[in-house]
């Protein structure tokens, strides 16, 4: 799960990680109030969306007066912000973070992530802060410091020192940095984060260490033990069809193509999307109904796929293990009777109770196209595509 920068900074505050003074605003009047409380110029107005690259897209601006704060906040709130992470359609900005300007002496990069290969927690830091860290990693990997920590041992002072010396910090900054890093690690562990990133972490002219930006992502599987984080969920940042699907425990991701597909199991679902592409079409979604799907889930999955107006055809691919083919067939028949089939549907079923499933579909009187195997399914999808 992702949260906004201002929410991440609330968490930082809880852990005594220094952040600039400021506050969130949903309209220009609120932005003025925050700026008035700060009392000094310049202030920074930052768009709050779940995507990076906001500065380049025109979502982060400096204001030198109250009038400028009002003007910039009015311009950013409501704008469609396009960055390299939002896709071409961009994201509508609903709120801004208004913060004090800082006397920046140095910009650093700092992040903590789990490393899947070693099962260790990795702290990554670089003096090349404020930049695209992937580009730094690709061109000058020696500029990135990496420290691996066994989660059972936890963070030790020497790990923090290793990072601090690697960053060539002056002695007056060393102590606040080490204490900040230890707090950040604690936050990462306490909340089951999948990413904590500060880019840039700034050293000010006054030798203060301050998190100018804040990005925190969480492991969805661990949200059950972090009810306070679930409160931070912002449904406006998600696709409405995906939100609808999540209500029924369906794993749905909307894509740009026109062939909908419903599959049981994530791996087979990806492989089915790939086979649609091989057939010369583009998948409209990823939809995994899971191993133990009920007829009701299948029905809702069908309805959600049809909610995407780009869908011109549907491929259902089920390998029945726990999900039996007769249950799937009943779900499809119900869905078709309720919502009506408005586009051609190709169904391929295999596995448990496949004969009963085929019988239910055949006796339903629905005009479904049945495919005997994956190869046949791909061919029938290709025929659909050329037919349109």
């Amino acid at each position: 799960m992702k949260i906004h920068e201002y929410q991440a900074k609330e968490l930082f505050k809880k852990y005594n990680i220094p952040i600039p003074d400021g506050g969130v605003a949903f309209n220009p009047d609120e932005a003025i109030k925050v700026a008035e409380n700060l009392g000094e110029f310049p202030v920074v107005v930052k768009a709050q969306i779940h995507a990076g690259g906001r500065g380049k897209g025109g979502g982060v601006k400096l204001a030198e007066s109250i009038d400028e704060v009002a003007g910039i906040a009015g311009e950013i709130i409501g704008m469609n912000l396009v960055t390299h992470q939002t896709g071409p359609d961009g994201k509508r900005v609903k709120k801004v973070l208004v913060e004090q300007g800082l006397n920046i002496a140095k910009e650093l990069y700092l992040s903590i992530i789990p490393d899947r290969a070693t099962a260790k927690i990795v702290i990554m830091a670089s003096e090349a802060g404020g930049m695209d860290i992937e580009a730094v990693a690709a061109s000058t990997p020696e500029k990135i410091i990496k420290v691996f920590i066994d989660p059972l041992v936890g963070i030790q002072p020497f790990y923090c020192r290793e990072v601090a010396f690697g960053l060539n910090l002056s002695s007056s900054v060393m102590r606040p940095f080490v204490s900040m890093l230890a707090s950040l690690y604690r936050l990462f562990m306490d909340y089951d984060c999948s990413l904590v990133e500060i880019n840039p972490l700034v050293i000010t002219a006054e030798d203060a260490v301050i998190a100018l930006d804040a990005k925190v992502d969480f492991d969805d599987n661990a949200l059950y033990r972090h009810k306070d984080i679930v409160e931070y969920r912002d449904i406006d940042e998600e696709d409405p069809l995906e939100v609808e699907a999540s209500k029924f425990n369906l794993n749905y991701i909307k894509l740009d193509g026109n062939i909908g597909n419903m599959v049981n199991g994530a791996g087979l679902a990806m492989a089915t999307m790939d086979i649609i592409k091989l057939a010369g079409a583009e998948p409209a979604n990823f939809l995994d109904v899971g191993g133990g799907a009920s007829a009701e889930m299948v029905e809702n999955g069908f309805r959600i796929m049809l909610g995407d107006k780009n869908v011109k055809g549907i491929l259902i691919n089920i390998f029945g293990g726990i999900l039996r083919c007769d249950v799937l067939a009943e779900g499809v028949v119900h869905a078709a009777e309720k919502t009506g089939i408005t586009v051609p549907v190709v169904i391929r079923m295999e596995g448990t109770n496949v004969e009963q499933g085929r019988k239910i579909l055949a006796e339903s009187g629905l005009s479904l196209i049945t495919a005997s195997d994956m190869k046949d399914a791909a061919q029938k999808v290709a025929e659909l595509v050329t037919g349109h």
Binding site: A119, A266, M270, G321, E350, A378
Partner: protein
């Protein structure tokens, strides 16, 4: 022959009295697996059908000689269950549970370092040596006993698809296993490839990968250096968009790493026969094996 499990396997089931645990235990018994014990804390002394239930894994091992455990407990308790089985010295631990927090698995992985137990999963369909024993949730009848092909995969139903196509071509399997779709798991591709290479009855291997991480790339390096047996490979997720978790917690392209294209290229460089079209998987296998 086979790898990791066979008809000497004595299975205990952690979470045997839950709905899922009960159903799949019955399916395993029906397939012929020797299920000797169940563990549900607080239900020791009861029976699930004819299978004795114990409070702790240690007790179950001491009383029944169980050497393999199938974990069916809910995600919040899975790490605890796996560590309990490790502590009790169980040889093979198969964790079916989906949705275990990554941090829990990182702790488990570090805890198990140096321990003799082998973990398969979590978030996996399990392991089957066709005709001998089934430990997991896969449909038994799609498998064909007797070998000569070993199957290892990161996925569930996609594994069934591949195995089904092998069986339709008349190609049997020695052992088929899913290593799980989570970012941090127990047994990896290399462990399985190494075991298949050493298993005299296995003459070829099927390896099914997906986007995310670098497991396929590392496996390809291993194959190039250490394997003499032919490997047929498939990778799911060519059309997956970056930055989105495709169902499995581990199936995510982050930045430029973890793409299907990069994996396919690495696998080709490792000498693996790549199947680009899943519809033609069985046909390719019948040519290679």
């Amino acid at each position: 022959m086979s790898i990791f499990v066979d008809n000497n396997t004595r299975l205990l089931v952690q979470g045997i009295t839950g709905k899922e645990g009960q159903f799949h235990t019955q399916q395993c018994v029906a397939y012929g697996t020797n299920v000797v014990a169940g563990v549900t804390p607080g239900k020791g002394g009861q029976k699930m059908e004819d299978i004795p239930v114990f409070n702790t894994v240690k007790e179950a091992v001491a009383q029944t000689g169980a050497n393999c455990s199938m974990v069916f407990v809910p995600p919040a308790f899975a790490a605890d269950a796996i560590m309990e089985a490790t502590d009790a010295g169980v040889d093979i631990i198969v964790a079916i549970t989906e949705g275990v927090p990554v941090m829990d698995m990182m702790k488990v992985k570090n805890y198990m370092k140096g321990a003799p137990s082998r973990l398969i999963g979590p978030n996996c369909p399990g392991i089957i040596t066709p005709g001998q024993c089934k430990i997991g949730i896969m449909p038994g009848p799609i498998h064909k006993p007797g070998g000569p092909v070993g199957v290892v995969s990161r996925s569930g139903t996609l594994t069934y698809e591949v195995v089904h196509q092998l069986t339709l071509q008349g190609i049997g399997q020695t052992t088929c296993l899913g290593i799980g779709g989570d970012p941090v798991n127990g047994t990896n591709f290399i462990d399985c490839l190494d075991a298949f290479e050493k298993d005299p009855e296995t003459t070829g291997i099927v390896m099914v990968g997906e986007i995310g991480g670098t497991a396929e790339e590392e496996a390809s390096e291993f194959i190039k250096k250490h394997m003499t047996k032919p490997v047929v490979g498939f990778v799911a997720g060519l059309t997956a968009p970056p930055g989105r978790r495709m169902g499995h917690a581990g199936a995510i392209i982050s930045g430029s790493s973890g793409t299907a294209q990069a994996k396919i290229e690495a696998m080709k460089a490792g000498g693996i026969h790549i199947c680009e079209n899943l519809g033609l998987f069985g046909e390719l296998c019948s040519k290679v094996f």
